[in-house]
């Protein structure tokens, strides 16, 4: 009886997987593999650089055609930072703190040397987001890793109040730029500035402005997260 059950179970599993295989094969036959079905992709590849003035097509999509989604993305990061701040500030008075260690001379010297270059690189990435690979989010992360070096070497010099003001201000200016697009050309976050010559630094209208704002905002946010974790 037991043996019969086992055979029944195995054969039913086999039959079900066979049926699923047939169904999937039939379904996959309907998909034209190798053929072009995405019209929007072709539109982006051919037209995005011309119509937004951004040589980096990823940036053209992220800020030119999908700017509102990017606003939502920035919002998600902001909510994550706020949630972390809430969780960490609720257990601030727990007495057991990690043993205080002091940074070595090598770390301190190298942090002094490298920190300005990291910040410069971050600023470079977000200012050139429309002509070279990169953009606001990686730039913010690079800036925050510079702050991380600052915290590891225990230099201090990170003003959390100022960072919060900067973060709030850049988020606000992002929305104001979007509203200016609504005012001047009738669509939220519409590119109302002149597009300029493709590939030059001052081109692509509002896209470099928005990416700079995003870079500053993300950098301040991630820096704030590190500040709260290192608990000064």
């Amino acid at each position: 009886m037991n043996r019969f059950n086992k055979i029944f179970a195995y054969s039913s599993v086999f039959l079900i997987s066979l049926c699923l295989l047939v169904v999937f094969l039939l379904a996959f036959r309907a998909i034209p593999f190798g053929a072009d079905t995405m019209d929007v992709g072709h539109f982006y590849l051919e037209d995005a650089a011309k119509s937004t003035g951004s040589a980096n097509i990823v940036t053209a999509v992220v800020l030119g055609f999908r700017g509102f989604d990017t606003l939502g993305e920035v919002m998600v990061l902001f909510l994550g930072a706020v949630g972390l701040g809430l969780v960490l500030s609720s257990q601030k008075d727990s007495t057991h703190s990690p043993a205080k260690t002091f940074p070595s001379l090598i770390l301190k010297t190298m942090a002094d040397l490298v920190f300005p270059f990291i910040v410069l690189f971050g600023i470079y990435i977000f200012m050139h987001g429309h002509i070279s690979p990169g953009g606001g989010f990686p730039a913010g992360a690079v800036l925050a890793s510079g702050y991380l070096l600052l915290f590891l070497s225990q230099r201090g010099g990170y003003h959390i109040r100022l960072a919060q003001r900067v973060e709030t201000g850049s988020g606000l200016v992002f929305v104001i730029v979007g509203l200016a697009g609504l005012y001047f050309s009738g669509f939220f976050l519409h590119n109302f500035l002149p597009v300029g010559r493709l590939g030059s630094l001052y081109s692509a209208g509002i896209i470099p402005v928005l990416y700079s704002l995003i870079g500053i905002k993300v950098g301040a946010e991630l820096g704030g997260i590190i500040y709260r974790l290192f608990g000064e």
Binding site: P98, F137, A144, L229
Partner: protein, 80 residues
């Protein structure tokens, strides 16, 4: 390029397996940072420099630091 990628992927998988199996949580986070670093190099080799930048700064630097701070706020070794 193919041999280099294969070598990097091999190191990456070994580091990932060790990260799962080690009992030392700080060591595990460092290994995860190493995995992120190598995947950043792989992204660069696959001609995605923007993703490589994000992976190197977020995955290798920030996430590792945040993991280590979280581990320091708890206990370092995992009980069996």
């Amino acid at each position: 390029m193919g041999i280099l990628s294969a070598f990097l992927i091999l190191i990456m998988s070994v580091a990932a397996v060790f990260a799962v199996h080690t009992k030392d949580l700080i060591g595990a986070s460092l290994l995860l940072g190493f995995v992120s670093l190598i995947s950043a190099i792989l992204f660069y080799l696959l001609q995605a420099p923007d993703v490589a930048m994000a992976e190197a700064s977020i995955g290798a630097a920030l996430t590792t630091a945040i993991f280590i701070m979280a581990v320091k706020k708890t206990k370092r070794f995992e009980d069996e």
